[in-house]
């Protein structure tokens, strides 16, 4: 596979983004970074397949992590990208890269609610792999029409959840793609956003530290929510590229469901 944007991304930005976000211990990873098949699939299914709501648009990426998708959306034609991320290491790292390379990216350190305080309206909100980690996803959805015209949501899907149902999972905030314990937000001080460590969790009997719950949504959950709110569902699917044959264990990550909703219909 060859993609000009991804090739340019590796040439110009990936090294700086890795070092700024992860620190000098990641320098070997930065030197060796390359586009893998799974990276390309994610790029295609999140950006190329949704280019109609990205190219030429002002984007707000809520829960942007390292900002890698923000950079790639900008490189793929977005007019501007605003990235919202609570983990300081990532939000500051992205800000540093954006400044160094003069990118039209604004990096804001903050949680999902801060988007309503920015005083700006966007064409598209992107929420990739984070809506299952906030305490109030339905209420949050109901407010989005004042923020943007379209929203793209991706969330992990487990096969044992009723299509309109929700299941709760409990886990620890240590490791990637996890949520937050909202009663311990002041303790998000670990360089990479952890709220606990293995010894605090297991050895010191502090087993609630950093523990959080997150949601697992059924395949039509946001379709039903959208209909209730008068939003139009433009897309609701699991991209073929992300389906992993033979993976059926419901406790394992399967793949991402992608929604595109039109919030303000003219």
């Amino acid at each position: 596979m060859y993609n000009e944007v991804l090739t340019e991304f590796v040439k110009k930005y990936s090294h700086d983004l890795i070092i700024e976000c992860f620190g000098p211990e990641a320098s070997l990873y930065a030197e060796d970074f390359k586009i893998t098949d799974s990276f390309y699939k994610k790029y295609k299914t999140t950006i190329l397949d949704n280019i109609d709501i990205i190219a030429g648009k002002d984007i707000i990426d809520i829960g942007s992590g390292t900002g890698v998708w923000g950079v790639l959306m900008l490189m793929s034609g977005a007019k501007s990208v605003t990235c919202i991320e609570p983990r300081r290491k990532y939000s500051h790292g992205l800000a540093s890269v954006a400044k160094k390379h003069n990118l039209a990216i604004t990096s804001v350190e903050g949680f999902h609610d801060c988007v309503f305080d920015l005083g700006k309206k966007y064409d598209t909100a992107v929420m990739m792999g984070f809506i299952d980690q906030i305490p109030d996803p339905v209420a949050y959805m109901s407010r989005l029409d004042v923020l943007c015209n379209h929203v793209m949501i991706t969330h992990r899907e487990f096969e044992d959840v009723d299509p309109n149902g929700v299941r709760l999972r409990s886990a620890y905030n240590m490791g990637g793609n996890h949520g937050f314990n909202f009663k311990e937000l002041s303790s998000i001080t670990g360089d990479l956003g952890d709220q606990t460590d293995v010894h605090s969790m297991i050895d010191h009997g502090n087993q609630n530290k950093g523990k959080y719950i997150c949601y697992t949504f059924g395949s039509k959950f946001f379709e039903t929510v959208a209909e209730n709110m008068g939003y139009k569902v433009l897309r609701n699917h699991i991209p073929e590229e992300l389906i992993i044959p033979g993976r059926s264990n419901h406790d394992r990550w399967l793949c991402y469901r992608v929604y595109v909703l039109e919030l303000n219909q003219s």
Partner: protein
């Protein structure tokens, strides 16, 4: 370096807590991938936590074993102090609960074994190492861009 000649290069950081008492001797150790080059691990007695950073080159997909050897000290081996593994990072990312995907193979003194014949030959998930022997951490490669690891830009 030719990127085609290896699967990936990994930078490890092992964080050890020195629990050696004043009447014991500080353990001497080496660490590395199974059947690969090893790196000396020398504890600073004045520091409660010691971090050792080293690089490894991975050539194949599949299961890898990182081994920490606590060296024999001859007749003084019974005096070897304890170390506790506090963390293991790859490219700066803690392996967190995966730290317990490890096995400790202690080597006991002959006298101790006479008194404790059922002393375990291996202990799963042990992080406090009080004898000479081997601690082995098992992991899968590639680590980069692996969906179950955190080491990734996405």
């Amino acid at each position: 370096m030719d990127q085609q000649s290896y699967l990936e290069r990994l930078r490890f950081s092992l964080v050890l807590e020195n629990q050696t008492r004043h009447d014991q001797i500080i353990p001497t150790m080496e660490i590395g991938l199974e059947a690969g080059h090893t790196h000396d691990v020398i504890l600073d007695p004045d520091q409660p936590l010691n971090t050792f950073t080293f690089d490894e080159t991975i050539h194949s997909r599949g299961t890898q074993k990182l081994q920490l050897h606590i060296k024999d000290q001859g007749k003084d081996s019974y005096k070897i102090g304890a170390v506790r593994i506090m963390d293991l990072r790859i490219h700066g990312f803690s392996v967190n609960t995966r730290l317990y995907e490890s096995t400790y193979y202690p080597v006991y003194d002959a006298e101790y074994l006479l008194d404790n014949p059922t002393a375990p030959a291996e202990i799963s998930g042990a992080l406090l190492l009080g004898n000479r022997g081997k601690w082995e951490y098992t992991f899968e490669t590639p680590v980069h861009d692996n969906e179950s690891w955190r080491v990734s830009l996405v």
